[in-house]
Symmetry: C2
Subunit: 163 residues, 2 copies
């Protein structure tokens, strides 16, 4: 039993814990010389001004939504961020970009991520989007298979440049 | 001599002509049963309500910018769309996504695209973005090399799903 909804400020610490609980994120943070804390009470304390400002920017912008999947016990089971981008391509339709998808460690392999992505795709269809897109690190071979099983095609190279 | 700026309504027809003048776009439109007109006066007439609504949405949203490179003769030499996405990752920094990059056919191979992308990256740095990203169709092998020469790494799979 999952409930999908936009995040509130109260979800902040749980979302940050999910974002931090990821091998690639940990490696990136370590390489940048700023290792993230282990997901714990310390994460809640690390919700600093920059992150709250980002949360407020997401919350205020009609093109961005922070989504959580809530478990029956009211805890946050999974999260992702949706960006709806207006475009002059494809007849002026919006496209959905999905970022920062995370499922809580103890709930992986149970279909939570699949339900979350399907819900997001339905939300995009309701909004009139004609394309959904995301990128996934080539190290995440399981993730590519997961998204392909949901109908995505790995037709594009995803290029990144740290600034 | 190029001038970079955000687009105005007057640039709409020229931008649509650039978007249409692309083999992959043409193939996609043909597959969808709605071939785009050849870049010509007809393009200007095809600027319909949905496209103007998309233009207005881009123009009104602080997270989206439609960019044009203007040649010395005041014509539009190139275009792209910038999306600045607030995020709880990377310390709350925004990321820049670049979409719909097009250089006018008669100006290709002269460094116009390179100048455009560099200008966009500078704009993102000024705004405090910590990451720039884009996807490019795997059929566009020249495009991948172009972006790699600008410092991008093809570290990710770009997955798409028409809705």
């Amino acid at each position: 039993m999952l409930t999908f909804r936009t995040a509130t400020r109260a979800d902040g610490p749980a979302i940050l814990a999910l974002l931090a609980d990821d091998d690639i994120t940990r490696a990136r943070a370590a390489a940048a010389g700023s290792p993230l804390p282990e997901p714990s009470a310390a994460v809640a304390e690390s919700v600093d001004a920059a992150l709250w400002a980002a949360y407020e920017a997401i919350d205020a912008d009609p093109c961005n939504e922070l989504i959580v999947a809530e478990a029956a016990d009211r805890t946050v089971a999974a999260t992702c961020q949706l960006t709806f981008t207006p475009s002059l391509s494809r007849g002026g339709a919006e496209r959905l970009t999905i970022e920062a998808v995370r499922v809580r460690g103890d709930l992986r392999g149970q279909g939570v991520g699949r339900s979350l992505i399907r819900w997001c795709l339905d939300r995009a269809r309701e909004r009139g989007c004609r394309l959904a897109q995301l990128t996934t690190d080539k190290q995440r071979t399981d993730a590519r298979r997961f998204y392909e099983s949901l109908g995505f095609t790995a037709s594009h190279e995803g290029l990144k440049l740290p600034l």
